[in-house]
């Protein structure tokens, strides 16, 4: 168990949540994500710009020089010239700004008097303009955690979402601009969070307050958390784009572990007397060593005209294979760097060799070729010479950083909460004013208008749900954290389906289906509403909900009627139920005679198996009881 206080853990979170506006932030396009083929594509390059100091972001410059091109996929009817950077932005969407102002007032933040749109330079291609437009709407405010601790909020911004990365092949990268421009609210906490659990609670609390505005988008990918993590003697690491809330604490936990391990490796290297000047970019061409190799990776690289280059890392033996967190070793970190800077598939290092088709003999020759002693590690890479050299340069740089401790970087979360190298941390924030948009004055009168429309707070909602619908507090809380609070209230006010059943179905049932691998994110609110309406009308049984939901999730284009039909779940008429009861009873007259009314349990089980949700259990039970009684009267 790590003592987070002792190691000086500091975490700050930025929650990015898409807003449910009718248009995009800087144009009149709808906020529609599409999966059909794009209507057209255009090809661009982004050129890193010089700052007033003559500086250029090194990673951006590197990619530009390597000739990286970007393909933007777009649609004629749902994207326009603004997304393609072919038309100046329109005035920002007022609705988005008002939602942010509402949230600001909910947490006691101070709205800015006059809003300015800023351009934040981003040259990875995710914004065709080369920058993301962002507006600070309010400063300050705070949120409360269940423990009673308050977390100060630093800023509330409204910004445009970036384009969606579709794929990457060599030096070409594909983005779809449908997502570009969807308004996001960004809520940033102060870096005062001091444990993984607290980080998750803070993200949850912010998420609840945002959802309380009832004007945020829901579903997978509509909320993303950036988590900034540092420990004493470590470094500030930004983990970008954590989509699932329950991953936040894991991400922090793993990152702490990784930094602690890296510090141990640093101390060990120092203990071994390794010095920075010992680690040199002396790349040795060892293609000959692998001329007859059985390694598939190397063979195919050589076939494409590549070479095998190797570099010695003095004193690193045993450390490259050291696990930093689940499945990630120091060697993995080097490999990720090599992939990014060298565009190679990966590296091999002597801590994992022989293996991967590389023989002991080859390792011996390799070590000999680079003059490695027993305590040294060797890293090799097989690719085109230029790529291989770039890759090994990145490896050497990472090795030198290992000597210093934890390098600052931006990392990407994996589904299990571990993280991988994404790119170097950008230098000082590169922001400058968006001159195409005039400043927006926020008047005291407008703020007063917003204040009148402050929505119900989450705690109040829970209380109201409990008192209005008679559901328990646990279910009420689950509803609040689900995407279906509004749907729940609609169902309960417009149908007679019992609220507790509705709440459980929309939360626990769907969650358990999701755990079983059912793609419940495919279920639309309209479909779910339809299902409950059928239940209300007696056209489907409550018990059939999991089956119907599962079928619909797996057949996203089909209707509820089709689901009922396919599943054979149309409701049985009372006559049909009666016939089934009759059949079961007549099959079991002996049992009934033996057990009397106690036979009910066994027969009811049989019956419900046959009914399979096509009849209301209460009705079946009632009929069965009566029939058993009749049967007993007959025999008695």
């Amino acid at each position: 168990m790590v003592d987070y206080e002792a190691i000086g853990l500091k975490v700050g979170i930025e929650v990015h949540q898409q807003l449910a506006t009718s248009r995009k932030l800087f144009c009149e396009c709808p906020c529609t994500l599409r999966s059909d083929e794009p209507d057209f594509t255009i090809i661009r390059r982004l050129r890193p710009t010089q700052s007033e100091l003559g500086e250029v972001d090194p990673a951006a410059e590197f990619e530009f020089k390597k000739g990286r091109t970007i393909v933007y996929e777009a649609y004629k009817d749902t994207t326009c010239l603004v997304e393609l950077d072919e038309e100046p932005p329109h005035q920002p969407d007022q609705e988005a700004i008002d939602i942010a102002l509402t949230f600001a007032q909910m947490i006691g933040a101070t709205p800015v008097d006059e809003l300015y749109v800023l351009r934040k330079t981003v040259v990875d291609g995710s914004n065709p303009s080369g920058f993301q437009r962002s507006i600070i709407v309010a400063l300050g405010g705070e949120i409360k955690l269940p423990s009673g601790k308050t977390i100060p909020i630093q800023t509330i911004c409204v910004e445009e979402d970036a384009a969606r990365k579709i794929k990457e092949e060599g030096m070409r990268i594909w983005y779809r601009v449908d997502r570009l421009g969807i308004p996001l609210i960004e809520v940033a906490t102060a870096p005062v969070i001091s444990s993984p659990k607290e980080a998750e609670e803070a993200a949850l609390a912010i998420g609840r307050l945002l959802r309380a505005t009832k004007r945020v988008r829901r579903g997978l990918g509509t909320v993303r958390q950036d988590v900034n993590i540092s420990i004493r003697d470590g470094a500030l690491i930004e983990v970008k784009g954590v989509q699932r809330l329950d991953l936040v604490s894991k991400v922090v936990e793993y990152e702490v572990r990784r930094q602690l391990e890296l510090l141990k490796i640093r101390d060990e290297l120092r203990g071994r007397g390794v010095k920075e000047e010992d680690i040199a970019e002396d790349f040795v061409d060892v293609t000959d060593v692998f001329a007859k190799t059985e390694s598939r990776v190397i063979k195919s690289a050589l076939k494409r005209g590549g070479v095998v280059l190797a570099v010695k890392l003095p004193g690193f033996a045993g450390l490259l294979g050291r696990e930093l967190m689940h499945g990630v070793r120091l060697g993995t970190e080097m490999s990720d760097r090599a992939r990014f800077w060298g565009r190679v598939g990966g590296i091999f290092h002597t801590d994992e060799l022989p293996g991967y088709g590389i023989t002991e003999e080859e390792v011996r020759k390799l070590r000999e070729a680079v003059g490695a002693r027993e305590e040294d590690a060797v890293v090799l890479v097989a690719d085109a010479r230029e790529n291989a050299e770039d890759a090994l340069r990145a490896v050497v740089e990472r090795a030198i950083e290992a000597l210093k401790g934890v390098p600052e970087e931006t990392r990407a979360p994996q589904p299990d909460g571990t993280t991988r190298y994404m790119r170097p941390r950008p230098g000082a924030s590169r922001m400058y004013p968006e001159t195409d948009i005039r400043p927006i004055e926020i008047t005291p009168e407008h703020l007063e208008e917003i204040r009148k429309q402050i929505p119900e707070f989450p705690e109040e909602t829970v209380k109201r749900l409990v008192s209005t619908y008679g559901i328990n507090e646990k279910l009420a809380n689950q509803l609040l954290d689900s995407d279906y609070l509004e749907l729940f209230e609609k169902i309960c006010s417009e149908t007679k389906v019992p609220p507790t059943f509705v709440a459980a179905a929309l939360t626990e049932t769907l969650k358990s289906l999701e755990r079983d691998g059912v793609p419940v994110e495919n279920l639309s609110e309209e479909q779910l509403w339809e299902v409950f309406k059928r239940i209300d009308e007696g056209m489907a049984a409550k018990e059939a909900f999991p089956d119907i939901a599962t079928w619909l999730a797996k057949n996203p284009d089909k209707s509820v009627s089709q689901a009922l039909e396919e599943l054979g779940l149309g409701m049985l008429s009372p006559e049909e139920v009666e016939a089934l009861v009759e059949e079961v009873v007549s099959r079991n007259t002996e049992l009934i005679r033996e057990r009397g009314e106690r036979a009910f349990g066994a027969l009811m089980g049989d019956l419900m198996r046959e009914v399979r949700g096509r009849a209301d259990a209460k009705l079946v039970a009632q009929m069965l009881r009566e029939r058993i009684k009749k049967e007993l009267e007959k025999s008695g």
Partner: protein, 446 residues
């Protein structure tokens, strides 16, 4: 002082002056218990008068409303940025020589992230350092002629540009690039086409639709391609080099007399009208599309006729147009009027008297079409025949803008209306195309 507090006025200016604050200084603003700290920014033109703009430490700008009880304190001196020029790439021997003449617009620049200012790169060294690829293409000599928005250009500037380009050609460069704002670049291209005759080397106009401070700017690729065309193109013509499509893949080279800005914002705003493009630059290679050009030949002697008259006018006809518009021009001493008529080259008969009077008083009246695509033909309908009879000069498939420029140029070459008409009807630099070719997608993709 006002320079130090750019844009601020009235009470806010006084407040800032009292605090001794200058743009860039770190200041603290206190108001009703709230405190803001940040670097003082210039006030934006459209900000409210009471607003103080500061840049917070996180890089964002905000506007703080100053009230009577607002207190401003200067807490730190601003430090002007020290620009460390990236090393200028070494000059490569044996490269063609290209002169770059800047007339306005910022084809290359740096961003001052401190104040948001865009600092233009104007000298050859600046250009090399912001667009290093240029050093592989040509040996560059850069001159800043003037720095004006292209909508502020007049025939006077055309003359100056023409003289400057002529000077560079006469000293023996292999090509000239003229950096120009895009709004009237088509007019200037036409002007240089008439002013610089018998060209020995290419003259390439270039601009950008996205300012060069942004990573997505079209400026650098346009400039590199323009310099390449100036240095290596096989032709000696005046051309405009701009994006051919929305993609950063191809730079079109349009003939100076046939090119027009056709979109308010797209990168591929320039289109050749009634003509194919002359060529394009793709992947650093020049492809020729229309091979009927004057070949590059440095031994050829340039003939410069850089003068333009300001007594030419361009009028677009519209239904209900008042004849007094023409009358005014004639009364004002205008000597040439280019009409942008309807269809095949018509104006309403309610203008006939004024047109007749203009011609009678020695004003040259010429006809183009507001259709832009296609050729005028004034023999088909009575109106056209009537106008011809009045002495209106039909200008084939010439762009109205080119016709206006040619009128202005012709009027400066001779005082004789008949001579002006003769010049107008002579195809001097491919302003007419005798044949109109069939185009599959016309005018371009719908």
């Amino acid at each position: 002082m006002s320079q130090d507090l750019k844009g601020y006025r009235g009470a806010v200016l006084e407040l800032l002056q009292k605090a001794g604050a200058k743009i860039g200084d770190l200041i603290k603003i206190e108001r009703n218990g709230q405190t803001y700290e940040g670097y003082l920014m210039p006030r934006y033109e459209l900000s409210s008068e009471q607003t103080i703009v500061i840049k917070l430490k996180n890089g964002y700008n905000i506007g703080v409303r100053a009230t009577p009880n607002t207190k401003v304190t200067k807490i730190g001196e601003g430090h002007p940025p020290v620009f460390a020029k990236p090393p200028t790439p070494p000059k490569k021997p044996g490269l063609p020589e290209v002169a770059i003449v800047s007339t306005g617009g910022t084809i290359a620049s740096r961003v001052d992230y401190r104040t948001g200012a865009v600092l233009p790169a104007l000298s050859a060294e600046d250009l090399y350092s912001t667009v290093p690829e240029l050093s592989d293409v040509a040996a560059i000599d850069a001159e800043i002629l003037f720095s004006i928005f292209s909508e502020n250009m007049t025939p006077k500037q055309w003359t100056e540009i023409a003289k400057t380009v002529a000077k560079h050609i006469e000293r023996g460069v292999d090509g000239v690039v003229v950096c120009h704002g895009t709004d009237t670049m088509g007019y200037t291209a036409a002007a240089l086409s008439f002013a610089l005759q018998n060209l020995p080397v290419p003259v390439v106009l270039v601009g950008s639709q996205r300012s060069s401070d942004r990573p997505s700017s079209d400026a650098a690729l346009n400039l590199i391609s323009a310099v390449r065309a100036a240095a290596y193109a096989p032709f000696a013509e005046v051309v405009v080099a701009m994006h051919e499509t929305s993609s950063d893949t191809s730079i079109a080279l349009h003939r100076g007399t046939k090119v027009r800005k056709c979109h308010t914002s797209r990168r591929d705003t320039f289109k050749s009208v009634n003509a194919r493009i002359l060529g394009r630059v793709v992947d650093g290679k020049i492809e020729i599309v229309d091979s009927s050009f004057r070949s590059r030949d440095k031994s050829r002697k340039l003939v410069a006729k850089p003068d333009f008259s300001d007594k030419a006018a361009l009028i677009k006809f519209y239904p209900g147009m008042s004849s007094s518009i023409i009358d005014h021009l004639v009364d004002d001493g205008f000597r040439g009027i280019v009409l942008e008529g309807t269809g095949l080259g018509h104006v309403g008969n309610y203008l006939f008297d004024s047109v007749r009077r203009a011609v009678r008083e020695g004003v040259v009246v010429a006809m183009t079409s507001q259709c832009l695509w296609g050729r005028v033909n004034m023999n088909v309908y009575d109106t056209g025949v009537d106008l011809l009879r009045m002495g209106v000069v039909p200008l084939e498939d010439m762009l109205p803008e080119t016709a206006y420029v040619k009128m202005s140029w012709a009027l400066a070459q001779t005082d004789e209306p008949a001579e002006v008409v003769k010049l107008l009807r002579t195809n001097i630099t491919n302003e007419f195309s005798p044949r109109t070719e069939y185009a599959e997608s016309w005018p371009w993709e719908s």
